[in-house]
């Protein structure tokens, strides 16, 4: 009986640790240096989905939110940042255990569920940035890869720490041509410009 209890406790401990945001497990091949082919698989799959080849990924449209149907109401950007790109894998269950900063939840939700970073192009703002610019979760943002000029529409769907800029979802990164490893490190030091348009959350998105 005592043995069963001990094993139950150990099992519970393992499950707790593996489900914890503080997990520091790091699968092989994802730590640093030159990414292996496996490391880049996920990004390539999303890229295929975005470009219309759905043989690797789901058929939900890849970038998730599409693009705003009517940008004439947007006016000027209420928040703009220009910085190195960082990948937020939150909401993507497949990243658990790979990205040490991973969170199951995102601040925004779709149908009561976290916004999956792999499926939806989203950007991260801090509470202070949102308050100062009048932006809210769900507002549209235009993300541009400063090296290639590729851009993509995304929505504000996660809230990060003060001062954070350039944090974008996996789907958004792939959509603007940024490669990353499974541990969320980008390949090289790509930079992005993020322009957020406050008061636009109610404008619906069209398909790519």
């Amino acid at each position: 009986m005592r043995s069963v209890l001990s094993w139950s406790f150990v099992l519970l401990l393992i499950v707790s640790i593996s489900g914890c945001d503080d997990s520091i497990s790091s699968p092989s091949g994802g730590a640093s240096g030159t990414p292996t082919q496996n490391d880049l698989t996920q990004g390539q799959q999303i890229g295929n989905a975005v470009s219309g080849d759905q043989s690797f990924y789901n058929a939900s449209g890849g970038s998730g939110f599409g693009f705003p149907q009517d940008t004439s109401q947007f006016g000027g950007a209420s928040f703009t940042s220009d910085s190195f790109a960082r990948i937020d894998t939150d909401g993507d269950p497949s990243e658990q255990g790979y990205d040490t900063t991973w969170n199951a939840q995102t601040s925004g939700q779709i149908d009561g569920q976290p916004v999956n970073s792999a499926d939806h192009a989203y950007v991260v703002m801090s509470q202070g940035q949102m308050a100062a610019s009048g932006a809210q979760i769900g507002d549209w943002a235009l993300v541009t890869n400063n090296e290639t000029g590729q851009s993509m529409w995304a929505r504000v769907e996660d809230v990060g720490p003060p001062g954070g800029t350039g944090e974008i979802s996996e789907a958004c990164a792939t959509g603007v041509g940024i490669q990353f490893q499974r541990n969320s490190n980008t390949v090289g030091n790509p930079s992005v410009t993020v322009q957020v348009y406050s008061g636009t959350k109610s404008i619906s998105g069209g398909s790519n």
Partner: protein, 188 residues
């Protein structure tokens, strides 16, 4: 003895207020003098004793995990910490001769690099949280917080939030910036 105990509990209730996401109903938090109420529900508002809104601090709390608020002893200021899963922000409402105003502590106030240097940690800041401490007087309140860097390195910090009395500039969100400022940041 019983009266004293009730008084202590009532004082603690008035001085500290926390709202968590699971509590969906609107909570009302009165100023010590009862002239105003901080209302936290779908939005965060200051309303007067007749129930009319004096000021809206936040109109949308989607994704918010917790709201902490404390009225100053003189009932002329209220500081609010709005917390999400990975980050929080400090806002305040204050009254002067012309009525109620709202102020924001800008991100640039937080000396992340200096705190990480003091704590001898490096890496990317992945999350931050903070909580309200005690009022030192009606213009200064202590705040404590935690920074978590990549690799799960944690830095606990503290500072004093001050109502500077200086005029601020209005940002696009309608907040005055420069009216509240953090000073004496230190690693705890």
């Amino acid at each position: 003895m019983r009266t004293s105990l009730i008084s202590v509990l009532a004082t603690a209730l008035i001085a500290n207020f926390g709202w968590a996401e699971s509590k969906l109903e609107t909570k009302q938090f009165p100023a010590p003098d009862g002239s105003q109420v901080l209302e936290i529900g779908q939005a965060i508002r200051v309303v007067n004793s007749r129930g009319s809104p004096s000021l809206t601090l936040a109109s949308n709390l989607e994704g918010v995990q917790r709201v902490d608020a404390k009225w100053s002893p003189d009932s002329r200021r209220v500081v609010v910490v709005i917390s999400y899963t990975r980050g929080s922000g400090v806002e305040a409402a204050y009254m002067d001769g012309s009525g109620w105003h709202k102020a924001l502590q800008p991100d640039t106030d937080l000396p992340t690099d200096e705190l990480s240097r003091q704590a001898a940690v490096s890496g990317r800041l992945v999350s931050q949280s903070c909580r309200l401490g005690d009022w030192l007087d009606s213009r200064r309140i202590r705040i404590t917080g935690e920074l978590i860097f990549s690799g799960q390195k944690k830095v606990h910090y503290g500072y004093t939030l001050v109502f500077t009395g200086q005029p601020g500039h209005l940002d696009r969100g309608g907040f005055e910036e420069g009216v509240i400022k953090g000073i004496d940041y230190h690693v705890r």
